[in-house]
């Protein structure tokens, strides 16, 4: 199996995601350049954090038009697994692969700190290594992480069980205080209805090594690896270009 990390010109957590997947999780990982049309036969696309195209207009707004993202859209619609972290989540929202939008944090400040998130659904491809109700300690670092969805959309998301992570206290209680950015329903991460696309604001790649203070983020990568390695080779594009392993 192989991971691909998308590299927009303003991505700045691209190497961090690459490091976590390749050096910590020890899985083959390639970088995917935003101008390319080639997903290099990867089994999972990771959209990393950063400011894709400067994000001056609106977070993730321009990234969705990039050549590579057209491929990612097709890949996702075909059931390929896509993980969007922070800016990657914002791009997935703009792309329409996930419902809703992001507003500025409620206090109008960039926030970089460890938060606790509760696993709401441990059956997804992104959480199967976790327990339902498990609390993960993972850092956030964003200005626009205040999740918003129109009332009807929100109702659907909740009804379909698409909320995968919620901001919570260390003991798992979901409170207003724990909801640092003001997200609706304390939402920190959601999946699409099919369950192959997940976006979350916290950065699991920053919580993958004990030396850096938390290993809780590994749970997400481990889950992905579990699901991908068991079901391989589910939907690899037939006779695609020779995958370049490095």
């Amino acid at each position: 199996m192989k991971f691909g990390v998308v590299q927009f010109p303003g991505s700045n957590c691209d190497f961090d995601a690459f490091h976590a997947l390749r050096n910590v999780m020890k899985r083959p990982t390639v970088m995917l350049w935003h101008k390319d049309h080639d997903l290099q036969g990867v089994d999972c696309v990771v959209l990393p954090g950063g400011f894709a195209y400067g994000d001056y207009l609106r977070v993730g707004a321009i990234a969705r038009f990039s050549p590579l993202m057209q491929e990612v859209r097709t890949f996702a619609r075909g059931g390929g697994r896509v993980l969007g972290i922070c800016n990657g989540f914002q791009v997935l929202l703009e792309l329409g692969l996930l419902p809703g939008a992001m507003l500025r944090n409620k206090d109008l400040k960039f926030l970089c700190q460890h938060v606790h998130i509760r696993v709401e659904d441990a059956k997804t491809d992104f959480t199967r290594a976790a327990r339902k109700g498990q609390v993960l300690r993972i850092p956030i670092a964003h200005f626009d992480g205040n999740y918003y969805a129109p009332a009807r959309t929100l109702r659907d998301i909740e009804r379909n069980g698409q909320v995968v992570f919620r901001y919570c206290e260390a003991d798992g209680t979901v409170t207003a205080e724990a909801n640092v950015n003001g997200s609706m329903g304390n939402i920190a991460g959601i999946r699409n209805t099919e369950g192959n696309v997940l976006g979350l604001m916290p950065h699991p790649e920053r919580a993958s090594e004990a030396l850096l203070g938390s290993e809780d983020g590994r749970t997400i990568f481990e889950s992905l690896i579990l699901s991908l390695e068991r079901r391989k080779p589910a939907r690899r594009p037939a006779a695609g270009k020779a995958a370049r392993h490095d």
């Binding site: 703009e94 809703g100 939008a101 507003l103 500025r104 409620k106 206090d107 109008l108 918003y148 129109p150």
Partner: protein, 82 residues
């Protein structure tokens, strides 16, 4: 042709920037201000486009790119026809 597009949050969406400005104005004693909504302005220079074409093109650009229809609405006007 010069065109101005105004993008702002839908009324149903909380606008913390606008709210902060409202509060600041109240602190400064401008009590007549009841509410502020903040938005973005885009001035576009268009070339080789008729008025009619602009009427189709501008909303398309605003809808597809400049505004996120989930949270934002837009208005536009022609500032100058050459």
């Amino acid at each position: 042709m010069k065109v101005r597009i105004l993008v702002s949050f839908k009324d149903s969406v909380l606008d913390p920037q606008g709210q902060t400005v409202t509060n600041a104005l109240h602190t400064m004693g401008y009590d007549a201000v009841m509410n502020v909504r903040q938005g973005k302005v885009f001035d576009l220079d268009l070339e080789g486009v008729t008025r009619k074409e602009a009427e189709a093109l501008v909303p398309e650009i605003a809808h597809r790119v400049l505004a996120n229809p989930i949270i934002e609405k837009f208005d536009w006007e022609i500032l100058k026809v050459r």
